[in-house]
């Protein structure tokens, strides 16, 4: 009886969750203009500084332990916010990539594909990095993260620029640059 009830509840939960999660995929696409306004500012340099091991070492050596722990927690909390913003921007840029994939020009399609690929990579890193940042918050001796996330974000930014550049010739606007 108990096992049957467990599976009945699991089935109902699966049904509700499937409908809830699928709803987003079935909705129509958005507006690029609206999406662009949803982008959040990310200072990659500041993020690199926050997760820098040498910076952390310097603070550890020059601050009293208690003060270091407080400042380290604040730095890691700021880094988490940066990662969240970068992941949010990545999801928006991936939609730009999706739009570029529908373009008639193969080079634009390729650039869009790369943008999506990097966006996915960045979101995957973000999922892995956020728990590590929280761990570092709790245990300041733990190394927070590598620079991969910053590099990937930088790559994505460059790909958006490439994508923009690639569109100009297709519209016969290269002379306008």
């Amino acid at each position: 009886m108990t096992i049957a009830i467990i599976f009945i509840v699991l089935g109902l939960l699966a049904l509700i969750l499937t409908i809830y999660l699928a709803k987003g995929h079935l909705s129509k696409g958005g507006d690029l203009e609206k999406l662009a306004t949803q982008l959040r500012t990310v200072d990659v340099g500041a993020f690199c500084n926050l997760i820098s091991t040498s910076e952390q070492q310097y603070l550890r050596e020059h601050l009293p332990p208690r003060e270091f722990r407080i400042i380290h927690r604040e730095r890691m909390a700021a880094a988490v916010e940066y990662v969240r913003c970068a992941a949010h921007n990545a999801s928006i840029l991936m939609r730009l990539g999706e739009a570029a994939r529908q373009h008639s020009d193969p080079s634009v399609r390729q650039a869009g594909e790369k943008l999506i690929e990097n966006g996915l990579r960045l979101r995957l890193y973000a999922i892995q990095v956020i728990p590590r940042l929280y761990l570092s918050m709790a245990f300041p001796k733990a190394r927070p993260t590598s620079d991969i996330l910053a590099d990937t974000y930088d790559n994505m930014s460059r790909q958006v620029a490439t994508l923009s550049y690639l569109h100009f010739p297709t519209h016969g606007m290269s002379s306008a640059i």
Partner: protein, 230 residues
């Protein structure tokens, strides 16, 4: 017909094969049902073999959906493939435990096999579809609407079937007719979802403007400058 006419078999060939198989299975069961004298044993074995083959095809469709959604992307394949394998292994384990606990209620051997197959395949299917949707949401992977519709249809049908299979296992023959009706309703809902998503696939575009306009690109350029302050 709709699938083949739109050449969607190139995108999800196993799914199209599954739809054809369902039609063939229905024709076979209907023929056995109409045959005089009606043989319940032949009908049950046809149903069991059909359920077994259908379950294999359904797993194939889920692999196809996983491939289309996640595994075809090099950035994700190496990380998500082992995660999905672990989820599948856990679901198989759960199905084995559940089947062992629930199948004792059945008294007929053929019906017992049918129940085990039905319950296990639905548990695995519902779990895998849910896992795919969770990954897609976490990574913000865009799924073209008709593929999302196929996955949603499978998920809804498998979840309803899981509930009805559990009910049937728990209450035995008393629950057979209500459980069958629920399963049929679940399958019809699933087909309606597929048809609606196929219809929407023609109309829905990711963005209303097929080609990005120059003003959009300038806007993106500005946003990019704002976004990366180095």
């Amino acid at each position: 017909m709709c699938l083949v006419r739109r050449r969607l078999q190139r995108q999800l060939p196993i799914f199209v094969g599954y739809v054809v198989f369902e039609l063939v299975q229905f024709a076979a069961l209907f023929t056995v049902y109409l045959h005089s004298p009606f043989s319940p044993v032949i009908y049950k074995w046809t149903l069991v073999v059909g359920t077994g083959m259908g379950s294999v095809l359904e797993l194939g469709v889920i692999y196809e959906l996983a491939n289309e959604l996640l595994l075809s992307r090099s950035a994700l394949a190496s990380v998500l493939r082992p995660v999905l394998q672990v989820i599948l292994a856990l679901l198989v384990l759960g199905a084995a435990i559940g089947s062992g606990a629930l199948s004792e209620i059945s008294v007929q051997r053929v019906t017992n096999i049918f129940q085990v197959l039905d319950f296990s395949s639905n548990l695995i299917e519902a779990g895998m579809v849910l896992a795919l949707f969770i990954f897609a949401r976490a990574l913000r992977v865009s799924w073209r609407s008709w593929i999302a519709g196929v996955a949603m249809g499978f998920g809804v049908s498998a979840s309803i079937d899981l509930v009805s299979a559990s009910l049937r296992a728990e209450w035995g023959y008393r629950a057979f007719i209500p459980a069958d009706l629920t399963q049929m309703a679940g399958f019809h809902i699933c087909v309606v979802i597929w048809l609606v998503s196929l219809y929407l696939a023609d109309r829905t575009q990711l963005f209303p403007n097929e080609k990005l306009k120059i003003s959009d690109l300038e806007l993106w350029d500005q946003e990019l400058q704002r976004m990366v302050q180095r």
